[in-house]
Symmetry: C2
Amino acid sequence: MIDVSRILAGDIRAGARLMREVDDRRPSALDALKALFPHTGKAYIVGITGNPGGGKSTVVDGLIAHYRAAGERVGVVAVDPTSPFSGGAILGDRIRMQRHATDDGVFIRSLATRGHLGGLSRSTFDVVAVLDAMGYDRVLIETVGVGQDEVDVMKAAHTSVVVTVPGLGDDIQAIKAGILEIADVLAVNKADREGADRTERDLLHMLDLRADGDRKDVEIIRTIANRGLGKGSGIAELAEAVERHRERTWTGEGGVRRARARAQAQIAELVRALLADRADRALASRGGLDGLAGAVVERRQDPWSLAESVVASL
Amino acid sequence: MIDVSRILAGDIRAGARLMREVDDRRPSALDALKALFPHTGKAYIVGITGNPGGGKSTVVDGLIAHYRAAGERVGVVAVDPTSPFSGGAILGDRIRMQRHATDDGVFIRSLATRGHLGGLSRSTFDVVAVLDAMGYDRVLIETVGVGQDEVDVMKAAHTSVVVTVPGLGDDIQAIKAGILEIADVLAVNKADREGADRTERDLLHMLDLRADGDRKDVEIIRTIANRGLGKGSGIAELAEAVERHRERTWTGEGGVRRARARAQAQIAELVRALLADRADRALASRGGLDGLAGAVVERRQDPWSLAESVVASL
């Protein structure tokens, strides 16, 4: 049984235990999250994503140092794309964050996809809620990539920062088509590299094409995050841009609208995740997927009829 | 009503219409797919993916030309990462494929994510089945990226080719952690660039770390795909490596095992997709997500209890 009061007191061990139970999809985790709910809603959640190689981890590292210097307690959810076979995660980049490991005011939690569609976004919402309840003022969600996974994970954030670098060339198309449209703030990292002007121009052009017409509100900040530990240039400016976005977006009527959209995303993720659990149970009761797959391979039954009968049996 | 016999006769218009109905999740599409099932299982399906900027489209273009020269009919499913707002897709790279547009033996179909988790993989399976039933000997699935989406989409392929390029540096980590482990054949494209040797060495090293121990079976082929239309170097070698993988993997007992794994993936995707449709209906019957989200924002109810009650009401 999870001791909710210990989590509310910020107890690291109790918090870590609940996060493991969240990962393992234990029913007890659900009960604890419900009990914590009235105590959440205080943390400000900043998502950071972008192409691999863009130096997101150094940006996150710089932001941690920045918020710590301002006296805030910082929780970090590091979302790892995972191999479907080994369950391995990209950890190399994260090692530099370890300098915060001895700081009581910083809690870093890695989160790997469990192979469940939609599971990653749900887990992110859940872990963010735990960090929020534990009293972290600021929660950073770091994720790698520009695909639908990242778009879904970023739904848990109040402000989404998309980090890019000069020299990606046509690859910037991929940012455009994917995650650019959820960006609230853009960071051009490694801005001392050749091509930073062109990258900024390209981003401005893409923002003009944004369907939601929010282009004017998206600030582009240049950063050089790897200038020695915590000495990154542009980090304070990036944090200020995040605060401006917060004030613009999360106050007044617009804030209520955004909060409803965020809650919608969370409920939808949870419903899908609970249904996926049900589907797993339904498949298990039918002798598992392997038996059904045999019928398809031997062409005795088609996969569409089989799937319908599994769902009908729920 | 879809005329199944016209699809089996290879009628382009009937095929395209069914694919649209698949996209729109029409019940009639499901009926047509069931009716087509006994006529499928003939096409050989090759997936091609990798980082943006790796020149996948030129590789696909080269393979189309190669298979056409061998007298095969070729269907292409071009999977587009899509903006959550505008529904826009990456089309720039695809324009070069248009030279095949006037060739009756080539059918190119773009597929964009519909915002549904898991929907992309399900749609890929469905569209591949239609192309198979239409009599295309070879179906190519092209997708951009190295995330979970791409891993899921590649489940529909018999042979998965992962295209990479020299000079990605540490970004190769992202390939490693993500999609490398599903690679059956690796292509180092733009192999005339500096660093091709190092890239190949890195890939060999990563293959050694592969959990499934299949390292020795994964061939690495160097290509320079953009040497003029259809004149790409290494394309024939790549096609030969695909054939070797096919013979090694899809014959005998191992072939049955692989076929069962593929059918399992398809059934699981379909079950999830049908459940997601149910979830949408359940949410609609509760007045939609917005009403539920209001209760969360006003902190009258927690999202976990709400999601449970939605699922319980199914």
